[in-house]
């Protein structure tokens, strides 16, 4: 069996070397690679347990996109996208992808973590073919490459975030689907509460060039809660255990 390696693909997470050094086992989603799990033979704790407690997962190679402009919400709705009722809210679409309304004129669309949703790709292609800039005041944003995408999961996640972020992200204060566009470890970030199954979880997106910096900061912050990276398999298990 061939061992999958992100260098076999064109699109590579800024973190792939860290994953390899941590004995990551990769899986392919579309043409890109994502960590399935880490092969840490001596670790008795399963990644699922880890994800329920305190974990971080790199989702940066999963698809995501964004639209901006005065016509963006109307255009998105015309494409069948269900929009949140107000800015700084996110809602899950019937096919599993997540639509986050960052402002009245700006949308961020994230694939579901199982990468089964095709809406992200479809919307991107549609926007290009529609020449949206000319017709609808809707402008495509390259969110897939401008921002990294990390998932922080576990019942200690909010406590960990309080070490790096000044927004109260505790579950009873920061409801499911809430968005904070704020500073995390002095880096501009979008934080979305998006529980996976029954597990408190957050998606965090920051400038992609600062991915390694933020990853290291979050790992450092979660050390006292015995947090560690997990692969997407653990996240899928969280969702499946719903």
């Amino acid at each position: 069996m061939t061992t999958l390696d992100p260098t076999m693909g064109m699109r590579r997470s800024q973190l792939y070397r860290r994953h390899i050094n941590n004995n990551a086992v990769f899986k392919k989603t579309g043409s890109d690679f994502v960590v399935s799990h880490y092969d840490n033979g001596n670790n008795q704790r399963t990644e699922l347990d880890q994800a329920r407690s305190m974990a971080i997962c790199d989702l940066s190679t999963l698809s995501r996109t964004g639209f901006k402009g005065a016509g963006a919400p109307i255009w998105a709705e015309s494409q069948g996208v269900k929009l949140p009722d107000r800015a700084n809210r996110a809602i899950v679409q019937p096919d599993g992808c997540l639509v986050a309304k960052l402002s009245d004129q700006e949308l961020l669309i994230l694939s579901d973590i199982l990468a089964k949703s095709h809406q992200v790709t479809a919307l991107g292609e549609q926007s290009t073919s529609d020449h949206l800039e000319n017709d609808t005041q809707t402008y495509l944003l390259p969110r897939g490459d401008s921002h990294c995408w990390l998932a922080v999961t576990g019942n200690q996640a909010a406590e960990m975030f309080s070490k790096v972020c000044g927004v109260d992200l505790r579950s009873h204060k920061f409801a499911l689907g809430n968005i904070a566009q704020t500073s995390v470890a002095k880096t501009n970030a979008i934080v979305i509460r998006q529980d996976l199954g029954q597990t408190l979880s957050y998606f965090i997106l920051c400038d992609i060039s600062a991915t390694e910096f933020l990853w290291d900061c979050l790992l450092d912050a979660m050390q006292e809660y015995a947090g560690s990276p997990v692969g997407i398999r653990a996240l899928e298990q969280l969702v499946a255990s719903q």
Partner: protein, 968 residues
């Protein structure tokens, strides 16, 4: 441990766990939970350290970490508070601020000369004759400072954490505990903070009833109630070190600074017992009554065997009962009051037959040559501060002081509370606190336990009502009939002085009086002139006495005199708490590790990591750079330009927008072409540049400088907020990774991996832009020539960056393509005379000065800075940026910012200078006067070491003046 009391004394110690430690190289034993001070006093070692100025022996004063007397040296931590720091196995502790030994300090002679060292001594003594300070300074500096810093210290890990609560209660004594319980209504998150190891405050050690049982009973009841409330969080060993706007509270623990946001704050910070002021009141063995009670009850330590208590209230009698219960003989209670009104506790003390002297004070403490109090000289009080000429000496090894309190007002005052003084009660009290801050307990001038508990409930009710969690009718403030615990004048001057007001700074009564005599009558000036209140304890035990003395000396009331400003931090915090875990964001392009693998020496440009140059065969830096330059000129090189700014400008008005924003004309720019974009501000100053690539009628992709893109983006948003053009602006800098492949073989290499774009010079000319694919990677291709060679900037989505790098390096293998860094790029652009904004421009540079007048449209109606540039063009230039060469290879090459001079006159400066491998000589750019700007002029540059270097002004560019190479 000679002085250890039996159980149940010692609520903080664990007698099952013995701990051995060292003090002054001598081994001592203590128990787990002991502080350094309690363990030492248990072993009869009461001398802990030496005072700052006169090296006087000092021992425990408060046993609460509130004073500087107990500052000791730990191996990695100077000025540790011995009454706060716990002992640990093998801990090595020494005293501070002594010469020779702690017991026999050679520096003690300084006290003999105190008469000649009045306040303001430095100001008066060392300013004449001129220059004398330089002589004295080394000697004085040698004596100054406390403790020794371990310069080899590896810092511990400190960090910070945010916390959010509805109500934060500062102070975990009876008031704080009761307030927490009452605040913890449904949906109210409550934090109770206390600096001590356990909750309870005075309930742990003070006497509230004759039997001495109420404190413990009350404590248990409150603890049970707190434990039953899951919405109360408790932090002990945690100091709230300040109050900032909107109830932002920094709470310091051992290794973490909590940044707490509270909607309501209840200050239950209690009060600070004050010293009596008499001769030798600083001797070890002289301590606050509460300190003696703490030693007895918290640590099971007998602070002496024979005690005298000087008091101005009934609390001193409670201390007498406590000491008597613990088997310590109380030789006398010396009551300053003429006719004290006794409460039950005082009556009980009298009933035990303890000698009481009323209308009397301790006039002096005597050590009899030892470093510890040996006797108290008591005298009748004749009038305020005046004693009878004769008194009585009573033997004692413990002298307790109980003459009054000040509210711990610091945090409340930082919140805007005002301190007032009531002459009747001789007490400070707090007024006018903000609505989001309540007071409860002795900080609110309540003294009986019942009143404190009632008022705490009321404070909590106000807080929860304000949060709309309750809607209770708030009762009136509690009143109590308890007598004031403060004596109005426990200050007794002595002919030999040494009646200390401020223990930190060794300031006596005379020092404060003399400060006012020298004209410093305002309390703030007294502080600065005398240094009173400027020591580690920040005036906690000196503010009241100093205010009273200044008031009396200046014929004002204490209320009029006031106290000095109490600024944060409340207590000393380590630098680690402020520094903590700092975040320094770092940005890396997707191809970052390819640079490292290729041997790059990285540098940081802002937050970005960029390759400066690549090491090659152990060659030196300059050789490597020169090689990279030559490879670009002769062959093909690849440089990472991902850090360049990228901004999408899209919409029907995109052309109009750029036309207004940049100096050039953009309305007629064809699709598929790039145009140089020079940006000026309203003052006509050059602030950035880039290229505007037109990929569609309504779509421009504009590049900007690495350091300037954020400002450009902000400016674009700002201007369009005014212009309201139909345009969308998006900063996509990080979304794209970019390289510049440059050199005569650039096309040949690129052709191998880019088949869907016709790269021929005719189909894709200089300043053309195309969309295509490099391998399988979607790319934006831009034919620009920053380095002056045939070249293509290739911008691809960020996460394809490394694959792009790999594809091009692989394709260029047969041409021996080599990466080059920004050092080589700087030389290459310099050879072409291209300026770098920010390096070759400054805050005054207009386009014409920097030979960029060609990039300014004079025909369009408006652009930012256009009007100013037009006006500037009507006037003669004051300076010009020119190119220069230095033909003499033996002179030291000038560097950036070296001066251009004309005889002794500075006439300009060098902005760039480097050795050009291509031309074989030093070349550079410099601002020179207009009369020196013509080619052939000779300028003089003050180079390294002041060497004057002659340089010749030449036309730009230095290389390939016809630009033939970049347009291949």
């Amino acid at each position: 441990m000679k002085n250890r009391l039996p159980s149940p004394y010692g609520t903080l110690i664990n007698r099952e766990k013995s701990i051995q430690f060292e003090f002054e190289s001598k081994t001592y034993n203590g128990f787990q939970g002991d502080t350094i001070a309690s363990a030492l006093i248990a072993n009869n070692q009461t001398l802990l350290s030496r005072s700052f100025k006169y090296h006087r022996p000092r021992g425990a004063l408060t046993m609460a970490g509130q004073d500087a007397n107990t500052m000791v040296q730990l191996p990695s931590n100077p000025n540790a508070l011995a009454d706060r720091e716990l002992i640990s196995e093998g801990l090595k502790v020494t005293g501070q601020n002594y010469s020779g030994s702690l017991e026999k300090d050679r520096g003690e002679w300084l006290g003999l000369f105190s008469r000649f060292l009045p306040v303001g001594f430095y100001y008066k003594a060392f300013f004449k004759p001129r220059g004398i300070w330089e002589k004295w300074a080394p000697l004085i500096r040698k004596k100054a400072g406390l403790g020794v810093i371990d310069q080899q210290l590896v810092p511990d890990y400190y960090d910070k954490q945010y916390k959010f609560f509805d109500v934060v209660i500062v102070g975990g004594g009876p008031a704080g505990m009761q307030a927490a319980i009452e605040s913890a209504v449904e949906n109210c998150e409550v934090l109770l903070v206390d600096e001590n190891p356990s909750l309870g405050g005075s309930l742990n050690y003070s006497r509230f009833d004759v039997e001495g049982t109420r404190g413990k009973k009350q404590l248990n009841e409150l603890l049970d109630a707190i434990n039953a409330k899951p919405n109360i969080s408790v932090m002990t060993n945690a100091v709230c070190n300040g109050w900032f706007a909107d109830n932002w509270l920094p709470i310091v623990t051992k290794r973490r600074l909590y940044k707490v946001r509270a909607k309501q704050t209840i200050m239950c910070t209690g009060s600070l017992e004050q010293p009596a002021i008499f001769h030798n009141n600083d001797l070890p063995g002289v301590m606050m009554s509460s300190a003696a009670q703490r030693l007895v009850h918290l640590y099971a330590v007998s602070p002496g065997s024979q005690a005298v208590i000087v008091t101005g209230n009934n609390d001193g009698y409670g201390t007498a009962l406590d000491l008597d219960d613990a088997g310590i003989k109380v030789n006398a209670i010396v009551d300053l009051r003429d006719e004290p009104i006794y409460d039950d506790i005082a009556k009980a003390a009298v009933a035990r037959g303890i000698r009481v002297e009323t209308g009397t004070t301790v006039y002096a403490a005597h050590s009899k040559g030892a470093n510890h109090v040996a006797a108290a000289e008591i005298r009748k009080i004749v009038s305020q501060g005046i004693c009878a000429v004769q008194g009585e000496v009573i033997t004692c090894d413990l002298l307790c002081m109980s003459v009054g309190y000040t509210p711990t007002y610091q945090l409340a005052c930082q919140a805007g509370g005002q301190l007032t003084y009531d002459d009747q009660s001789a007490m400070f009290s707090l007024q006018n606190c903000p609505q989001s801050l309540q007071l409860a307990g002795s900080v609110d001038s309540l003294w009986s336990l019942d009143a404190v508990l009632l008022e705490s409930k009321r404070a909590a009710m106000i807080a929860t009502n304000a949060l709309e969690l309750t809607n209770e009718k708030v009762t009136d403030r509690v009143t109590e009939n308890t007598l004031s615990p403060n004596h109005p004048w426990p200050i007794f001057a002595h002919p030999k002085g040494k009646e200390f007001i401020d223990f930190d700074e060794d300031l006596t009564i005379a020092d404060i009086i003399n400060a006012t005599g020298d004209g410093y009558e305002h309390i703030q000036l007294v502080k600065r002139y005398s240094t009173c209140g400027m020591g580690p304890s920040q005036g906690r035990h000196s503010a009241l006495a100093a205010a009273r003395l200044v008031a009396a000396a200046t014929n004002r009331t204490v209320a009029e005199t006031g106290v000095t400003t109490a600024r944060p931090p409340f207590s000393a915090e380590q630098l680690g708490h402020s520094a903590g875990r700092s975040f320094y964001p770092a940005r890396r392009s997707n191809m970052h590790y390819r640079h490292l693998e290729a041997g790059a020496e990285m540098l940081q440009a802002g937050a970005w990591y960029r390759p400066a140059f690549y090491h090659f065969n152990n060659n030196d830096r300059q050789t490597c750079i020169n090689k990279e330059v030559s490879n670009v000129r002769d062959n093909v090189g690849l440089v990472d330009v991902s850090t360049l700014g990228g901004i999408e400008v899209r919409g029907a008005d995109a052309s109009e927008f750029l036309n207004r924003f940049y100096t050039f004309g953009f309305l007629k720019q064809p699709v598929g072409k790039a145009r140089y974009a020079l940006l000026t501000n309203e003052a006509g100053v050059v602030i950035d540049d880039g290229v505007a690539c037109r990929f569609g009628n309504n779509h421009y992709y504009v590049t900007a400088t690495t350091g300037g893109v954020d400002r450009v983006y902000q400016n674009m948003l700002k201007w369009n907020a005014q212009w309201r053009l139909d345009v969308d602006i998006a900063n996509v800098t990080s979304a794209y990774c970019g390289v510049n492949i440059a050199g005569p073989n650039a096309r040949a290499v690129l052709q191998k991996v880019c088949s869907d774009v016709d790269l021929s010079a005719k189909a894709f000319p200089y300043m053309g832009v195309r969309l295509g694919n490099v391998g399988e990677i979607p790319a934006r291709l831009i034919r620009v020539g920053f380095v002056g060679e045939l070249g293509y900037e290739i911008h691809v989505p960020q996460q394809y960056g490394e694959a792009l790098w790999d594809a091009l390096m692989s394709a260029g293998n047969e041409h021996n393509i080599q990466p080059f860094g920004i050092e080589a790029q700087r030389i290459l652009r310099l050879e072409k005379g291209h300026i770098i904004i920010g390096q070759d421009t400054d805050a005054m540079s207009n386009p014409n000065e920097v030979q960029m007048g060609w990039a300014v449209s004079r025909t369009k109606p408006f652009f930012v800075g256009g009007r100013t540039i037009a006006e500037l063009e009507k006037k003669p230039s004051l300076r010009c940026l020119v190119g220069f060469v230095i033909d003499d290879s033996k002179v030291p090459m000038p560097q950036e910012s070296h001066l251009v001079v004309d005889d002794k006159q500075m006439t300009g400066r060098v902005t760039s200078c480097n050795f050009s491998p291509t031309l074989g000589k030093a070349i550079g750019l410099a601002y020179v006067p207009p009369q020196k700007s013509d080619a052939g002029s000779v300028i003089e540059i003050k180079s390294l070491g002041g060497v004057r270097v002659l340089a010749k002004v030449v036309n730009l560019p230095f290389f390939d003046p016809d630009n033939a190479r970049q347009e291949l």
